[in-house]
């Protein structure tokens, strides 16, 4: 990356009287989590490279409220939602792309009822569109060519919103050797973090969910576990560390893999 990376904000754009084609909704994990910040950066690089007219909210962004709602705190969720909707509507936002399935689900399915109607895409869907349109071209013989990769379906992308093919298409574009886990697609196993579980200790049981899922991922023999969700990424990385496999097996986001190959 030699060219300058541009990260325009909605406020800057508005000041110039411009409107971007898409809003990249970074999300809390994408903004604060050190690991997921690298995914944010990768996605920004792709957008820059392809020359997409985008912007972020920057300091004006705020939690969508998903974990609060699923933990039962409907008040807090709606406060967050209405505040966000005010901001989004003030900027006349039409189309949102996000790298977090929880943000994706909430913005897409839960904001309309509160007055926020947008076209919302998960970054895997957006990347799939860019690939199909020929805007993103993977160089031949990329790093992932023929590599055994397994994709972990996040519940909020898959079962919640029926997005199963887009992430797999991205992996296919990388010419990777996609292997499926014992439980995949509609039968995919949760990483254990959804429903606000990310923010508390699990209830007593005989195993943590992320360990069970990590075992399924390791069983495929893949050296890369592809993910499309910040929570899944944390849970699976922890699982792999727990199995002391972090040297051999990596958890990577789709955008990271694609950004490396451009």
């Amino acid at each position: 990356m030699s060219e300058n990376i541009k990260i325009p904000t909605m406020a800057e754009m508005a000041a110039e009287g411009k409107e971007p084609e898409i809003l990249f909704w970074v999300g809390c994990a994408g903004s604060f989590d050190d690991r997921y910040k690298r995914v944010t950066v990768s996605f920004i690089k792709i957008l820059n490279k392809v020359g997409i007219n985008f912007a972020v909210l920057g300091p004006e962004e705020s939690c969508t409220g998903d974990p609060a709602r699923r933990a039962g705190n409907e008040f807090l969720f709606q406060m967050q939602a209405m505040t966000n909707i005010e901001v989004l509507n003030a900027y006349n936002v039409k189309k949102i792309v996000t790298a977090c399935p929880h943000c994706f689900n909430t913005l897409k399915n839960e904001y309309p009822e509160l007055g926020g109607e947008y076209e919302v895409l998960h970054h895997s869907e957006y990347l799939q569109q860019l690939i199909n349109a020929g805007k993103v071209k993977v160089q031949d013989g990329g790093e992932f060519k023929g590599k055994k990769i397994t994709f972990h379906d996040s519940c909020y992308l898959g079962r919640a919103n029926d997005v199963y093919e887009a992430p797999r298409d991205v992996l296919k574009a990388l010419d990777a050797d996609l292997v499926e886990m014992k439980k995949c697609k509609t039968k995919g196993l949760c990483c254990g973090a959804g429903g606000a579980q990310m923010f508390k200790e699990p209830e007593p049981g005989n195993k943590d969910i992320n360990i069970e899922r990590t075992e399924q991922a390791l069983d495929t023999g893949a050296k890369i576990v592809a993910a499309g969700c910040p929570f899944c990424m944390t849970m699976l990385s922890d699982g792999i560390k727990n199995k002391e496999k972090e040297k051999e097996v990596k958890v990577l986001d789709l955008a990271e893999m694609l950004a490396q190959q451009l």
Partner: protein
Amino acid sequence: MTIIQQVLFVITLGIAGFFVFKRASSIRRNILLGKDAEFNDQKGKRWGTMFRVAFGQQKMFDRPFVGFMHFLIYAGFLLINIEMLEIILDGILGTHRLFVPVLGDVYPFLINFFECAAIGVVLACVVFLLRRNVARIKRFHKDEMKGWPTSDANIILVWEIVLMFFLYTMNATDYLLQEAGDAHYPVVGSFAISQYLVPLYSGLSPEALVMVERSAWWVHIIGILGFAVYITYSKHLHIALAFPNTYFSRLEPRGKMKNMESVTNEVKIMMGAPAEDSGEEVGTFGAKDVKDLQWNQIMSAYSCTECGRCTSECPANLTGKKLSPRKVMMDIRDRAEEVGKNIDQHGADHDDGKSLYGDYISKEELMACTSCNACADACPINIDPLSIILDMRRYVAMEEASTPASWNAMFQNVENSQAPWAFPAADRFKWAEEISNSVDSQQ
């Protein structure tokens, strides 16, 4: 003689009808303990879902072998109902095989078909009994399945086999009576399966044959009427409720959580916007007891087959946590029955001091759910246990304010720094500087 039988039959039919009606009314009353909800939208899609999922058994075939076996019972059951119509009319009118003159040559063909269907039913019932009691498939032996739920399943399976046996006995003796030239028994020939039972009865006198034939007829019909009453107490109610349950099942994306209008209003007021009067009374936030659920959620509890497909996919349950979505559904039904009984015995305002949350479902169970939707996806009749778990969490969070401390901390972070983690809100865009720095340093 026949007139006495006719009178007895009509009385039997009346008694069974009375009990079914009484039970159906009390189930209806219990379902309507729940809150109003309207489902007037997307009628075409709803009928389509019902047709595919309930009538067409679509999701049963996610597990093809069981799906096929279940289909045998289901198809057999539907077909045999046609024969039931004749049996009931014969009973009332004192006729025998009333449809013979109407259907002519088609008649023996139909009965043969039913007999084959019945063999399918017996076969599937035997396989299911073996799966439950010999192979002891794990999901049929979880904690919530101890006692009645297990015997319920076995009773039904054995009952179905016995009913089929009497059907064959009827047809076998009937054939011998045709042969003997009894004018009451129209000649239709012997049938595909029951012909093998014929030698069993061939030594009997005509009078004894009539006795056996009549007894088998009565046992068969009483068995079926009894079954109709029994299923209203059993998980077998799904044979009826699977249809409305799929009709009323959710059409929206699974990830979408139901919006709480009452909260929307209060939040609007807090944010200084003019509130609209939704006309909705602000009752309890979330669900503590069955009356706080929507009626369709209670209905789905009455529809639940206790098959445990939900539980066997549940990540919490798979890893040994207390939560079992099947148990949630069974608890709702048990509690609705209890509340119903209280109303019958002590009047509508009686409070037994118990509730679904606390007495049936514990906080520990509710807190373990990852909202992954695996349960809802696995359910062959589109039950959505997750919607109920989330409604109950709303009660825990908003009425009881007893969510785990780390969740409370998360709530505070969202409120104060607009993120679930305790980072200063002002740092939200710091990542952008970090990239520019890292890009600069690479250059």
